[in-house]
Symmetry: none
Subunit: 194 residues, 4 copies
């Protein structure tokens, strides 16, 4: 019997290395060799497991989006009350795990990738739609017909914040950023009630 069960380990290593490398370089123009080296293997093995550079990129995207989705789901489960649910989504978006320089850089580059690769675009669209529906569902009980508009507004602010963070030089401050958006939300809610 041969050495077995390496595949999932290698795949995970490669995905992690891909995100790290893209984050580090700030570009999608990273070579498969670099990624493989960071993951501790030959580039040939990377191709063996993923078939192509693009497939590797897409897997990395899927991974980031999956992690994010899981975090949002977890936060939603723990939240009680509509407003709390909306805040939970925001907070998850800026949790330390997601809102790291590295991941933010990768995220931005995935947006760029989505311009060219249909599959990447599809993935991001799914993410957007889910984010939007999560927010809308959370806001509807209290805001009724204003919910979709508010949800969009918040979604746009989350993405815009990522964009800004990608430009900052220091490590992005998730807490502060989240607070800002939550404040905007609070104000919006308050304004609406007035």
């Amino acid at each position: 019997m041969p050495k077995l069960g390496m595949e999932p380990i290698r795949r995970a290593s490669l995905i992690k290395a891909t995100i790290a490398e893209i984050g580090h370089a700030g570009t999608l123009e990273v070579t498969v060799s670099r990624i493989a080296k960071r993951a501790g293997m030959s580039s040939a093995l990377a191709h063996h497991y993923f078939g192509s550079k693009e497939a590797l990129f897409l897997a990395a995207m899927r991974h980031v989006l999956t992690l994010y989705g899981a975090e949002v789901r977890g936060a939603l489960a723990a939240a009680e009350g509509p407003e709390a649910r909306a805040r939970a989504v925001i907070r998850a978006s800026f949790s330390p795990a997601n809102f790291r320089r590295e991941v933010v850089a990768a995220w931005l580059n995935f947006y760029a990738l989505a311009q060219t690769r249909p599959e990447a675009r599809r993935l991001l669209r799914v993410y957007q739609r889910r984010l939007l529906s999560n927010l809308t569902d959370a806001l509807r009980p209290a805001q009724g017909p204003r919910a979709p508009g508010l949800a969009r507004q918040i979604a746009v602010m989350i993405d815009g914040t990522y964009l800004h963070a990608a430009l900052g030089s220091e490590a992005p401050d998730g807490a502060a950023t989240g607070a800002m958006i939550e404040a905007a939300l609070a104000q919006a809610l308050q304004g609406g009630d007035a």
Copy 2:
């Protein structure tokens, strides 16, 4: 017979072609040859005028940012009253000239470029700072200490909207988008007054 005064024309052609090509490809991975061909000259000439691919990209960025800045300035000059000035900035951001698929795609890619190239980063920072100060200045008379926060909120929404637009499949609708942000602004102002 060397044609005199060709330089500025050639440079402009190349910059325009660069933006068009990046917008069309949705990537920075466009070749100098393609750009040059679109501009109706040899790639060698492109190098002659700009020295390197990177320099050409930066010039294109500068061009986009300059156009945008001019538009904002124009709108500001025509606006009367603080709120009108804030709305003017928003509207300029989504004017037909700026908020085209092509330009949006280029813009997004410039953000990605800024991750790697300090000069690109510098340019985008200047743009951000100016946008922010324009908005803050416009809002301060009526909002006082709330102005910076509101300004940041709007700025983030503008950028977030660009990001979203880059993902959409149809031509982005500047009017609708601008209206959404203006509505958010109005609400924020109203909420603040309450």
Copy 3:
């Protein structure tokens, strides 16, 4: 529990798969992996049994030539009289077993292989020599000194026909082809007698 006696079975599978794969691809540029997969095993096992890709190719060649040789011998044994013996050789060359698209393609590629690999060349030479002596022996009783020339003429026609068949789009028609050569032979004999 190691299965005993698998070796000959595995080897035969691999040889068959090699011919099939070359025939199917029309090239020697088939990978060991593909061959092994077609034979239902891992490429590592193929190497275990044959040591190298080249050795596998040579074994496949040997197989084809051996089959052909057997067929010729069988036909000769059944033939009575000089002319019948010559016709038997021709017929064997275009028997359904040998004159299949797949085998013809492999055959042609083996000729190409013989350009580079001495062992492959040696094998083909042996085949040629045998074919020639079979024909010569068959023709000598009736044709005397003309036998060698006639034999060569027929041999050349057989090989040329394979070449043509390799180019045809439909499955090659062994019966018709053999008939043509036999007719040529008959004419030659008749012409000689005249």
Copy 4:
């Protein structure tokens, strides 16, 4: 004004080098780099002029076939009388220019190539058809309905001879070979008349 008119020179060099390299290696598995080096340039330039390895191979094939066609046409023009015309075709096929080890090896590999590449197959088919019609036309005046069969017989012998020559170790002897086929032809004609 730049250095001009290199293209045809380079293309010719590359085609010549391709044939030489294939002939020398006896395989299509020659690298573009080797070909380019033999032609005295970088492999990048080879790609610049031909676009791909396959295109280069096809151009080389076309060249060989064109040369052959020209030689046949020349020989036909000089021949007087039906039989002489048929002999001319044969002789041209074994002229020193065409029947060189190198070219024969390339020829054989082109046949192998034709198994995979439709364009290569098309080219060879054109060659075959032309050869056949040349021979048929030459033979019809004297042989009438027997012409097509005879033509095919000769064509097959020509190709078979190339195959045999590819296997020989010494430089192939065009004169002797041609003579053999001509003898076969003569005999066939004589036989037919009988």
